[in-house]
Symmetry: D2
Subunit: 353 residues, 4 copies
C-alpha cells in the first residue's frame, strides 16, 4: 500500500499514472535483495533512459545537503552536468564493489572506453544499513549482484524493503525505497517529475506524516525496541524529469528536495549523508561532438521553474511516506527488528480518513 491508499495525499499537484519515477518514459529499475539472517542488504539499479546513455548522455545535477556520505561519481556529474551511466544504489561499504561492477558493465557495452575515448564515470549512491539490521562488515554485495540488478530492470518501480532498501531504517521504523511523481503543464507541453528515495534517516520522535506528529504517537505505543540515539543513517533522493532543463536549473530543483525531506520531520543529523541527484531525460548530449561543434537545445524559462520546485518537494515528501508504508517489518543481525509503519498505523488514534 501507498500513502494515498491510507488517505494521505501530500500537496496540491496532480499525480502521475504510476505515482513513481516510472512515469518518466524510458526509466526502468532493477533490484537484487540479499535477505538472510544477519545479511540484510542489496542493490538497486536505475536506468534513466532505455538506450545507451554513454553515447547520449543526460543532463544531470547533484546537491549535497550533508556530505557525510561515501557516494561516488558526483564530482564529474557536477562538473559536466551530465550522467553517463545507470545509477546504482547500495550500502555504504559496497560502493567500491558496485563502482567496479558498474565500470565492467559499461566497458562490456562500450568498447571505445579506455581505448579510443576517455574513461567512464560510474554513479553509485549509498546509505549505511549496518547501523542496525545488516552485517555490513561482511561485505555481502558481490559484483554479480550489481550485474543482476543492472540487467533485470523493468519499467515498474520497486518500493519497500527490497534491493538497496532491504536493510535500511527510517525514523526508527523499517525504511527502504519509496517513490512518487507529479504531472504538470508548461505552455502546451505536459511533463512529469518523479522522486525515488532510499530512506535510512531520522529518529522516531521526529516523524511527521503530512504534518501529523505520528512519530510521537508511535513512540507512545512502542517501548520495546533499542533506540538509536543519533541519526547515523542517510537518504538518497533521486529526481527524474522529462522537462527540458539546464544542469544549473536542475541543481536549483535538487536544492528543493530537502524541503520535502524536512516535512517528514528529520533534523538532518550530522551523521546522515543526505544527497540529491537530478536527471532530465530531455536534451540528450552526444558523447562525440558533432562536426559543427555546436548543439541545439531547448530549456525552460527561469520563471517556469516554480512548478518543478513544487513537484520536487511534493514527490520527495510523498516518496518517503510511501517508503514507510511499503517497507515490511524485518529482522536482521543480532535478531534486531525494525517494525513497519504499516503495522503501527491501524493502532494509532483516529487515523486520518
Amino acid at each position: 500500500t501507498r500513502a494515498r491508499d491510507r488517505g494521505i495525499s501530500v500537496g496540491q499537484m496532480e499525480v502521475g499514472a504510476t505515482n513513481s519515477i516510472c512515469d518518466i518514459k524510458g526509466v526502468s529499475v532493477g533490484s537484487i535483495t540479499l535477505s538472510d539472517g544477519a545479511i540484510q542488504t542489496g542493490v538497486t539499479a536505475i536506468h534513466v533512459v532505455d538506450d545507451n546513455i554513454f553515447e547520449h548522455k543526460c543532463v544531470a545535477a547533484g546537491h549535497v545537503i550533508n556530505g557525510f556520505g561515501k557516494s561516488a561519481g558526483l564530482l564529474q556529474l557536477d562538473e559536466l552536468g551530465q550522467l553517463e551511466t545507470p545509477i546504482v544504489l547500495t550500502n555504504t561499504l559496497s560502493v567500491g564493489t558496485a563502482s567496479d561492477a558498474l565500470v565492467r558493465y559499461m566497458l562490456d557495452r562500450n568498447p571505445a572506453i579506455g581505448e579510443t575515448t576517455g574513461s567512464v564515470n560510474p554513479l553509485v549512491l549509498e546509505c549505511n544499513d549496518g547501523a542496525y539490521l545488516n552485517d555490513i562488515r561482511g561485505l555481502h554485495v558481490k559484483a554479480g549482484d550489481v550485474e543482476t540488478a543492472l540487467t533485470s530492470a523493468q519499467d515498474s518501480c520497486p518500493q519497500g524493503a527490497i534491493g538497496a532498501g532491504t536493510g535500511m531504517s527510517c525514523y526508527g521504523l523499517k525504511g527502504g525505497l519509496g517513490s512518487a511523481s507529479r504531472k504538470f503543464r508548461i505552455g502546451d507541453q505536459s511533463y512529469h517529475l518523479g522522486a525515488l528515495t532510499l530512506c535510512n534517516m531520522g529518529l522516531l520522535d521526529d516523524l511527521l506524516v503530512d504534518g501529523r506528529k505520528v512519530g510521537r504517537e508511535i513512540a507512545e505505543l512502542k517501548k520495546h525496541e533499542a533506540e538509536q540515539s543519533a541519526e547515523l543513517g542517510s537518504i538518497i533522493m533521486l529526481l527524474i524529469t522529462d522537462a527540458p532543463l539546464s544542469s544549473r536549473q536542475l541543481k536549483r530543483i535538487c536544492r528543493r528536495a530537502g524541503a520535502g525531506l524536512a516535512r517528514t520531520g528529520t533534523q538532518f543529523g550530522s551523521g546522515s549523508g543526505d544527497i540529491v541527484v537530478g536527471v532530465s531525460t530531455a536534451n540528450r548530449i552526444p558523447h562525440y561532438s558533432p562536426e559543427s561543434g555546436h548543439q541545439d537545445c531547448q530549456i525552460l524559462h527561469e520563471d517556469k521553474l516554480d512548478i518543478l520546485f513544487r513537484a520536487a518537494i511534493e514527490s520527495t515528501e510523498e516518496a518517503i511516506i510511501n517508503c514507510l508504508f511499503a517497507s515490511k517489518t524485518t529482522t536482521g543481525k543480532h535478531e534486531r527488528v525494525r517494525h513497519s509503519l504499516a503495522d503501527y498505523w491501524p493502532k494509532l488514534d483516529q487515523p486520518q480518513a
Copy 2:
C-alpha cells in the same frame, strides 16, 4: 503576542529566557521604521557583540538556499569565516545605501581602516518589500536611517512589521521580523542558539503552522485581496549562538535552517532569495595577529552538533511563526493591504488550545 501565547510550541527543546536572539549575551538590535502611505520600509541593525567587532571578529558562515538575492558581504564572510561589522537588514534596492552607510559607521570607529590596515567588509542583507506594500523605486532609505538603526540598538529584539520588516509580506499575510531561541547543554556548559528572520516569502495556500494547513483555512476566509501568483519575496535567516564552533561547523548549522523554513510550508520559489548567516560569539578572532602567529581556540566535537542542528531548525520555524503573529495589518502603496495572521487566527475553526 508570540506563537507560544497561542498555544503553539514548535519542537521539543527548551526555550531561552527571552525566546529571541537577545538570549545570546552581547546581542543588541536597533531599527528605524519608515511607514507613511506608499513608503513602507526601514532598516534593522544587529550587533552580535557589545564591543568592537572589527578588532575582535566573530566566527561566521553563510549558506545560500536560493541566490536570487542582492545581499552584500557574503563573499568575504565565506572565505574568511569571519564577521567584522554589525549586520544591517533593509530592502533590496537600498543595499548600496546601507553598505555605504555601514562603511562610514565603521570608518568613524576604526581610524586604521584604509590607512594602516586593509578595508572592511560590510554585511547587508535584504528582502524585496516593493512587490506589494512599499514604493521601493522611491529609494526612501537614507544613510542617516542606517546610522540611526546602528546607533539605537537595545538588548531586546523587535518583532513584527517594524524596521526592515515594515513593508514585508509573508504567505500572503503581513510579514516582518521574527525571533526565537533554544537553550541546551554540551558537557557541563550551557549554550543558546537564536534565530532572527526577516520574512518576505511564501504563498498563502502553502502556510503551515506547526504542521496545520492554516494557509488553506485562511484562503477559505479571505477572498478579497489581490494575490501574488509567484513567490517574489525572500527570507533572511540569521542564526546566532554562543557555542564554540569553527566556521565549517557553523555552515553545517546554517544549512539546517532551511528545514525550519520548509516546515512553514514555502515551496522555495525561484524568485525568493533565501539566505542564512550564522555567527558564533565564542572564539573571537583578533584583527591583528598575535606575535606568535598562532591562536588557541576550543570547538565542539562533531558528534555534538546534532543538538545545534535541532536548535537551528526549531528556532527558525518558530521565528517565522512569531513574525506572522507579531506583524500587524498594514496598508501601503496603491492602498494595498496585508492582513495580520493575528486577525485571522480567532476566526479559524477550533484554533489549537
Copy 3:
C-alpha cells in the same frame, strides 16, 4: 604601448583586431578618473551589449579564486547564470555608492523594476586602491561619477592608470586596467574571447613577464620605494566572449583565468580578493518568459571548450602585462609614488627583442 609593442607575445593563439574586450561586438567601456593629490581613484563601467541588458539578459558566471573581497552582485549572477546590468568597477569602499548609483541608472531606464516586475541585481566589482596611493577613507567616488562612467562608454577599451585603475598598484609597480583578446574558430564559426583586468595585486619580486623573472631584475634597480610586505591588493578579471555557452561552461572558463594570473607570478596572497566574471553575448535571455515557457538555445559541445580555456588563460596573462606597460607613474597620498613598468623596462639587461 602594449606588451606586443615590446616584442612580448603571450601564448600561441591569434589576437583580435583591437586585442581587447572591444573585439566582442556590442561591448563598450566608460571611465571617470579622479586624480588630484591624495585622491587617486575612479570608476569604469562596462556595457557588454549595446541594447537593454535588463530586458534581454546575458549568460554569465562568476568564479572566486580568493573571496577576500567586497564585490556585490555575484550571488544572483551565480544562481541564475545571468547578468542584467552593466558592470561597474571601482575602489573597495565605494561599492555601496556604486551599487546605489547603478540601481538608479537601471530604474531610470526600466520603469517596471520594483513596480510590475521584481528588482534588479547590480554588479559592482572592486579592488582596494587605499593600501598605497588613494585616500580611500575620503570616499571620493560620488553617485554622479558612476553615472558619468556609465553614460560615457565608447567602443574602445581604456588601459592603464585611468578609471577604476587610477590608484591601483600591481607587483609594486603602477597598476590599473589592461585588456587583451583572442580569436578562434569552432566548426565554421569565428568567435572572440577577451579579458579586461583591474590589476592591484602582487609583490615586485614575484613578477614574471612571459616567464622572465622581471620582478627580481627590477628589484635590483629599485631600492628607494617603501615596499608592501603582504599582498593587500586584489584583481578583477572580466572575460567576455561571443561564443555560445551555458553558464556552467562559462564557469569552467572562468576557472582557467587564474592560470593566466598565476603566470604573471603572483602568490595569491590571503588579502588579495581575486574574482573572475565571465559573460557570453550569445543566447540572450528574455526577462519575461515567452508564452510557451520555453526558449531555444545553441551551445558548444564540451569537447570544444579547450580553445576557450586557452583563450581565457592567454588573454588574462596578456591583459595583466598590458596593464603594467600602460599604467603611467603616479604620485598619490603621502606623496607616495608608483613607478611604471614602462619606466624600468628600458633599463633592464637585454630586454627581449
Copy 4:
C-alpha cells in the same frame, strides 16, 4: 635526478631535508608497480600519520580545479574537514577496486566500524593512464595490489614512473609521481609543507620549466611520436603540512596549488580532472568525542597564511618538474613509447646551468 640537480630551483623558499612529503614527520609512502607490456599501471598509498588515523583523524580539505575525474571520498572529506584513511592513488577505472580494498584494510584494523560505530570514508584519487600507455580496460589492479601498496609504505617518497605513476603521461613526456617540500617559520615554530603530484596532464608544446618554454624546444627535436590532440589526462596534487590549520584555511592553501600547476604550462584542458587534497598533521581529531564534548586546538592567524600559500605553489610546481625528470622512458600498449624529459634535456640548446 631531481630538478635541483639540473640547476633548476623553483621559487625563493627554503627546501626541506628530503625535498618531499616525507619531510613531514609521520608520512610514509608505499607503491606497487605493474609494468609488463601493455600493462603499465599501479598503486601508491600515502599514510599521512604513523598511527591509527581512523581513531585520530587529520584536518583535511579538498579543492576541485576541474571535476572531470572519478576520485572517491572527497564528499565527506569536504563536509567534515577530516581524513580518516590512508590515501590511495591509482588509475581511473580501478577506483572501485581500490576503494573496496581500502575499506577492507580499514575494517581489519578497526573492528568497531560498521558494528558499534559508523562507516568509513576511503579516499582514492586517480588519473587515466589508459589514454596512451596502459591497457586500462584490462582492470589489472587487484585488491591484493592495493593491500601491498598500503602495507609496504616507507618513509621515503618514490618519484617517477612507479606505483600509480607507472603508466602516466605528462606534457607528451613520461609522467608519474613527483614531490617537493618547503620549510618555514611562523613565530618561533618551524613547519614543513610538501607536495606529492601524480602527473598525467598537459600537451608538449605547453611545457614550461621554471618559465622556460622547454615544451616548444623539445617539440622541435621530437617529430616521431603520435601526439595527443587534447588533454585527456589529469593531475592529483596532495599537499601535506605539519602547520596547525583549520580545514577552511587548508582549503585556501589547496586553491593555490593550481598556480604552481599553471606555471608548468598546462591549459587545464576540459578532460583533465585536476584535484587538490590538503592535510594537516597537527590538531588530530578523536573519532569519539571526549566527555566534555569540546576539543582544544591551535590554528594559525589568517595573516600568517601567505607563506603557506607560497610553499604550496612552489612545492607543486617543483614536484611536477621533479616528476618529469624522474620518470623514465616507458613502452606500453600498442608499443607506444613515452620519452623522459631526462632524455631530451641534454639535447636542448644551452640548458640552464
